[in-house]
């Protein structure tokens, strides 16, 4: 890991608030180079936030703990815990005794304050480079409702991550997934959505019929998935939160599945199986018009748009085994990009556009991997009995996927794209098919 602190002139704290949006001058980022992964995480301290009124006192520890969990969860940071601190932060605006933080080897100090009035909550924070004794960028304030206190901590985490790494964060985001229960030969599978850290789970279906492989819309306002409500796989579109459900792409005698939103959210591409053959189709969500994109006597499924909407990566067994292909978004000639050993499935284009994540099975093992969009520079990030279905964090630095232990239950894991920091995402029960939504506004 390279770490380059760019020290800025101390800037005045700028405080303003509109909804959850921070208002500030552009904060110049620190540089913590994360592309190579982190071997030696940066030590940080996040003392309990300062309560600026009595109602805010309930959140002083909780906010700090969420920020710490987010940042250390990346593997880029490690916490110098409060019991090791020799200084206390009792006022958000008082000066910092940097020597006390240097003495316990803290490199970045995050201070915060919280106040609650009625249902309105204000959260402020500052980041300090302890080594140089300078504030990093301006302080920021978030205003929102008390119910959204975790989101405020995620916003703080995103801002801190951005200041120190120069990359966008991914903490204030949600993940749609499948919550599983019951015996493995008669599984109940419910569509659900949670925060990226596994909190705030909401169930979107009742589990009486199978739901599999959901995806969130580019703005996070809708979910598509494959529903067995009709007794056969069919794509369904759900408006969040808890809104209308609509069945899509109905064609006589056909099964439809594997739906994915186009980057503009106005159309879906999906698989339609009929007569032993599975092809990709596109449906315009406004007009309902359906267009066939592939026409091959083989399976074409698991499509994924490039972020600019120009291309679709997908999986096909037209060569005899599953491999990854890329074609224009309007259909047409597909170019195979996977040529390594084994079978390649579930390509997913990175939100940065630079990489495609995939599932690979080879020699009895399953892997999550990434390759460049032309298929070069393949790197495997994981290996297990069954890993499948990668989904990208909004910043393109982390993927989540389903891991099923041999003879065990599935769970959701995350790993960064260097292959480091493999972690289980906490869910209450067995869980599968994560699909990461966008960073929330």
């Amino acid at each position: 890991m390279k770490r380059i602190f760019q020290i800025l002139p101390a800037l005045a704290l700028a405080l303003a608030s509109v909804g959850m949006t921070p208002i500030t001058a552009q904060a110049q980022p620190l540089r913590l180079q994360i592309t190579e992964g982190v071997i030696d995480p940066m030590p940080i301290a996040v003392p309990a936030f300062v309560a600026e009124d009595s109602a805010g006192a309930r959140y002083t520890d909780a906010l700090a703990r969420v920020v710490v969990a987010n940042l250390t969860g990346t593997g880029l940071f490690r916490e110098v815990p409060p019991q090791a601190h020799i200084a206390r932060i009792t006022s958000f605006d008082a000066g910092i005794g940097f020597a006390d933080w240097r003495a316990v080897n803290v490199q970045a100090l995050i201070t915060g304050a919280v106040s609650v009035s009625g249902n309105r909550m204000n959260v402020k924070f500052r980041v300090y480079d302890v080594v140089s004794g300078q504030q990093l960028g301006q302080g920021l304030q978030f205003a929102g409702t008390e119910n959204d206190w975790r989101r405020m901590a995620h916003k703080v985490s995103d801002a801190v991550y951005n200041r120190i790494t120069g990359e966008d964060g991914y903490f204030d985001s949600r993940v749609v997934f499948i919550a599983e229960s019951g015996s493995r030969d008669n599984r109940s599978k419910r569509l659900a959505v949670m925060d990226q850290d596994g909190e705030n789970v909401q169930y979107l279906t009742d589990g009486r019929t199978l739901a599999i492989a959901p995806r969130m819309s580019p703005t996070g306002d809708r979910v598509v998935y494959t529903s067995y409500d009709s007794g056969s796989p069919r794509i369904a579109l759900l408006t969040l939160p808890g809104g209308q459900r609509q069945m899509l792409g109905d064609q006589q005698g056909a099964m439809t599945f594997s739906p994915r939103f186009a980057p503009d959210g106005q159309s879906l591409v999906y698989s339609l199986a009929r007569g032993g053959n599975t092809d990709l189709y596109r449906i315009d969500l406004r007009s309902g018009q359906q267009t066939q994109l592939t026409n091959s006597p083989s399976i074409a499924t698991a499509p994924s748009f490039s972020p600019d909407g120009r291309f679709i990566a997908f999986e096909s067994d037209r060569s005899g085994t599953s491999q990854i292909y890329v074609m224009p978004a309007s259909g047409g000639e597909a170019r195979r990009i996977s040529f390594g050993q084994g079978r390649y499935s579930t390509p997913v284009w990175s939100p940065r556009g630079d990489l495609i994540a995939f599932t690979k099975s080879n020699a009895g093992r399953f892997h999550i991997g990434v390759m460049r969009t032309d298929g070069s520079e393949e790197r495997l990030l994981t290996a297990s009995y069954l890993d499948e279905g990668p989904t990208w964090a909004p910043n393109g630095r982390v993927v989540m996927f389903t891991r099923e232990a041999q003879g065990g239950d599935p769970a959701i894991y995350s790993v960064d794209i260097t292959g480091r920091n493999l972690r289980r995402v906490p869910t209450q029960g067995p869980a599968s098919d994560p699909a990461w939504g966008p960073l929330r506004p």
């Binding site: 008669n186 009709s230 199986a273 499924t301 599953s322 499935s345």
Partner: protein, 179 residues
């Protein structure tokens, strides 16, 4: 027969498979709730039928247990094996002599593949069975396919023994509904 009637018949068949035949055809399970939504208005289409005595060659129990309601596939394949064809030949004879039944052919995959590919593979397997039954004189109009991918294993274990029995099609007979 209009489409609504037809779908009610097929749903009835699903329900029977679930309620009456948990071992042999038991891929639906869950008290018949899986496969169709209780709040969708379809619940009224379910009727009850007897499986009968397996010694009675006209019974569904005979079809399920003596003839065999399923055939198995090799890894990533939808080709019918010799043994599978023999089973399907016997299924076709029974179906042709009991024309009052509607049929759902389920396709299933083992757990050693990705989820959506396995839905497609299950459809391919179910279709292979349907086409073979048609070639043996069973009317395509009586049949429908559904793929469960890897979602409904007969038995879940991380071993060859389970994978082999999970790569299957199951021919599900409705209980005396006709169309």
């Amino acid at each position: 027969m209009n489409l609504t009637t037809k779908s009610l018949l097929l749903l009835g068949a699903l329900a029977l498979a679930a309620c009456n035949n948990p071992r042999a055809g038991g891929t639906f399970g869950g008290g018949g709730a899986d496969g169709f939504g209780n709040d969708s208005g379809y619940g009224t289409g379910i009727s009850t039928g007897e499986l009968g005595d397996p010694n009675d060659p006209r019974s569904i129990a005979h079809f399920n247990q003596r003839i065999g309601d399923r055939v198995f596939f090799t890894v990533d394949s939808s080709s019918l094996t010799t043994e599978g064809r023999e089973t399907l030949n016997a299924q076709a004879r029974w179906l042709n002599s009991n024309p009052q039944y509607a049929i759902i052919v389920e396709g299933h995959a083992d757990e050693r593949g990705t989820r959506e590919y396995n839905v497609a593979l299950g459809e391919r397997r179910a279709n292979a069975v349907l086409q073979y039954l048609v070639s043996q004189g069973v009317s395509a109009g009586r049949m429908r396919t559904v793929s469960y991918g890897k979602e409904r294993p007969v038995e879940a274990c991380a071993a060859q023994r389970c994978w082999d029995i999970n790569r299957r099609s199951v021919t599900v007979i409705s209980g005396g509904l006709t169309g």
